[in-house]
């Protein structure tokens, strides 16, 4: 177990380092702005006095590394600063929105992951048949659709034409879980459609790639049935690529929901980020970017560790 532990610790350290590097990029990127934040916000008509006063208020007179450390220390303690647009605590803004985004992502993942893996296994089992070919064309198409296309089609048919679901996925803070699931069904379904295709396709590929292996032929020659070969002999060896694809798509669910949130006017983190980009509310953009990156890195880290843990060569040393 010793080398395994070492590997996992290495991955964690790498993840932390990446997060640190991203924080540096996020911070330095703002430093690259022509002029500084104060001039940006106040515009060209501001008098030098007001700019100077504003600078002092934001602490822009300090050298960059001091401000970076302040910012970083604040974030570690949960203080992201204040929004320029409405002067509210960013941490407060983010926490509600992050919760909403995570809810939507988990909702979609809970449907998409089991669905796509079982469909992928089925397609591998029935490869070459009608089912496989239909699935192939359907998934190829659905990876090719822009998300907003899928979203608007669902909206048009299930909401506008058939009035089955609400078109705006907003819910009060009092809503019950069932109510929330009903109101967010359309955005969740959009996400499911978008990620299922990719995960399924990759699951199928990961399995089919293994079928030429001699140990698969060996299993056939032992009299194993096709289903047994897929589930017992191919799947355990395809876990690492499957886990990685699932992680990639989960990360996408969290970071890529921006468009779905915009279409369905869902109060998530992505929506907040887009609004902040439009209004150039830079501290909020920085904060959301960092939070998203943190979640993303965490997911990749978990995937990495899981795929190490499913590799018998690493799990059981020589």
């Amino acid at each position: 177990m010793h080398p395994l532990l070492k590997m996992i610790l290495q991955r964690i350290a790498l993840g932390l380092f990446t997060l640190f590097a991203i924080s540096l990029v996020v911070f330095l990127a703002v430093e690259l702005l022509p002029g500084d934040l104060a001039e940006q916000i106040l515009g060209q008509s501001a008098t030098p006095e007001t700019v100077a006063a504003f600078r002092a208020e934001l602490g822009l007179n300090m050298p960059a590394h001091v401000r970076y450390l302040d910012w970083l220390v604040g974030i570690v303690q949960g203080d992201f600063g204040r929004s320029l647009a409405n002067n509210r605590e960013i941490a407060e803004l983010i926490s509600v929105r992050l919760g909403n985004t995570l809810f939507l992502a988990c909702y979609a993942a809970a449907i998409a992951v089991p669905l796509s893996i079982s469909l992928g296994l089925l397609a591998a089992l029935l490869r070459g048949g009608i089912f496989d070919r239909v699935i192939n064309i359907v998934t190829l198409s659905s990876v090719s659709f822009p998300e907003y296309f899928v979203a608007y089609i669902l909206l048009l048919f299930l909401s506008v034409r058939m009035s089955m679901f609400p078109s705006i996925a907003d819910f009060g803070s009092e809503a019950s879980l069932l109510e929330m699931m009903y109101r967010t069904f359309l955005p969740a379904l959009t996400l499911v459609l978008v990620v299922t295709a990719h995960m399924m396709r990759m699951t199928r590929t990961a399995i089919v790639n293994l079928l030429a292996q001699p140990y698969i032929e060996m299993a056939r020659l032992k009299g194993a049935s096709p289903a047994r070969i897929i589930v017992r002999h191919a799947l355990p060896n395809a876990l690492a690529p499957i886990i990685n694809v699932v992680a990639l798509n989960l990360a996408y669910l969290i970071t890529g929901v921006v468009i779905v949130e915009v279409v369905f006017v869902y109060p998530g983190l992505g929506q907040l980020m887009v609004d902040s980009v439009a209004s150039r509310d830079i501290p909020v953009v920085q904060a959301t970017c960092l939070v998203f990156a943190g979640v993303y890195i965490l997911l990749n880290l978990v995937a990495d560790i899981l795929s190490i843990a499913t590799n018998p060569r690493l799990l059981h040393g020589r």
């Binding site: 990446t18 590097a21 991203i22 990029v25 996020v26 990127a29 703002v30 690259l32 702005l33 064309i137 190829l140 198409s141 990876v143 090719s144 659709f145 822009p146 998300e147 907003y148 296309f149 608007y152 089609i153 909206l155 048009l156 506008v160 034409r161 078109s167 990360a251 970071t255 890529g256 921006v258 468009i259 915009v262 279409v263 980020m273 887009v274 902040s276 980009v277 439009a278 150039r280 830079i282 953009v285 920085q286 959301t288 970017c289 998203f292 990156a293 993303y296 890195i297 990749n300």
Partner: protein, 273 residues
């Protein structure tokens, strides 16, 4: 020889090729084909289909059909330029990393690992906040982000070739780096690279259209499919499908490319047996 290859192609791939060809013609001859100008206001807002305006007018009273045709030039052209940029950077770096190995490989790979660890769309949003929205900035930002994927693929496929004895033989002969890459490696990874170009284009195309949809990419009044969807989205709540047309245009092109890429990859893997 080309025609012989096409005869064995599956129907989906031929359909894909035909559609790509149509898009290309529309894009190149947009000025001649489109009935109205790109930004010309020719009627009332949101006019119905039929009559003078085959597909009605948009939110400012511009001819929808004309803007769709011009979109083929703008949206596809920009995505193509971005892909070409991403591809040239990524494949050259990937080939260098695979051929030289050692610290060059280590440095480039770690650098790309880090770029990939940042979620692409967010990074694009951050950079666009800072550098401002605009076509050149968007091309640059997306090219750098997509370059990482091209790098990884090129490096991976080139690595498979670099370990071959014939590359070692060239090295032992004393051949220079350029010869090794051009004569020994490149011809053997051409097929997956072509396929990758198609796939990358789809990703770039979708990313550009997503940014434009969010109002952060190609700016009005340039006719662009992503922003056209957003600008006319209000119509959907009235049950009108017009805003979906540009989205469908995107979808049809990406599907077609995917069909062709699928076939190219299939051929490439088939030749190995």
């Amino acid at each position: 020889m080309k025609i012989g290859v096409l005869k064995d192609a599956p129907k989906t791939a031929i359909l894909g090729l035909v559609i790509i060809l149509i898009y290309a013609v529309l894009g190149i001859f947009a000025g001649q084909i489109a009935p109205h100008g790109e930004t010309e206001i020719v009627g009332m807002e949101f006019e119905q289909w039929g009559g003078e305006f085959l597909l009605g007018t948009d939110n400012l009273g511009r001819d929808m059909l004309s803007r769709l045709i011009y979109g083929a030039r703008n949206s596809v052209g920009i995505a193509l330029a971005t892909t070409a940029l991403a591809f040239s950077i990524g494949s050259v770096l990937g080939l260098l990393a695979a051929t030289l190995g050692g610290w060059v490989d280590q440095f480039l790979s770690r650098f790309v690992d880090m770029l990939i660890a940042i979620p692409a769309l967010l990074f694009a949003l951050l950079l666009l906040t800072i550098f401002g929205t605009g076509i050149v900035n968007m091309i640059g930002v997306i090219a750098v982000l997509e370059m990482t994927r091209v790098f990884r693929l090129t490096r991976a496929v080139a690595m498979n070739v670099v370990v071959m004895d014939y590359v070692q033989a060239a090295r032992l002969r004393g051949e220079g780096l350029w010869w090794q890459i051009r004569a020994e490696i490149l011809p053997n990874i051409a097929a997956p690279l072509v396929a990758e170009f198609g796939l990358r284009f789809c990703f770039v195309f979708l990313a550009v259209s997503a940014l434009s949809f969010l109002g952060l990419g190609i700016q009005p009044p340039t006719a662009d499919w992503g922003s056209m969807v957003r600008a006319n989205a209000a119509l959907i709540t009235f049950g009108d499908i017009t805003p979906l047309l540009p989205a469908a245009a995107i979808a049809v092109l990406t599907i077609s490319i995917n069909f062709v890429v699928d076939w190219v990859l299939h051929c490439a893997s088939g030749l190995k047996d």
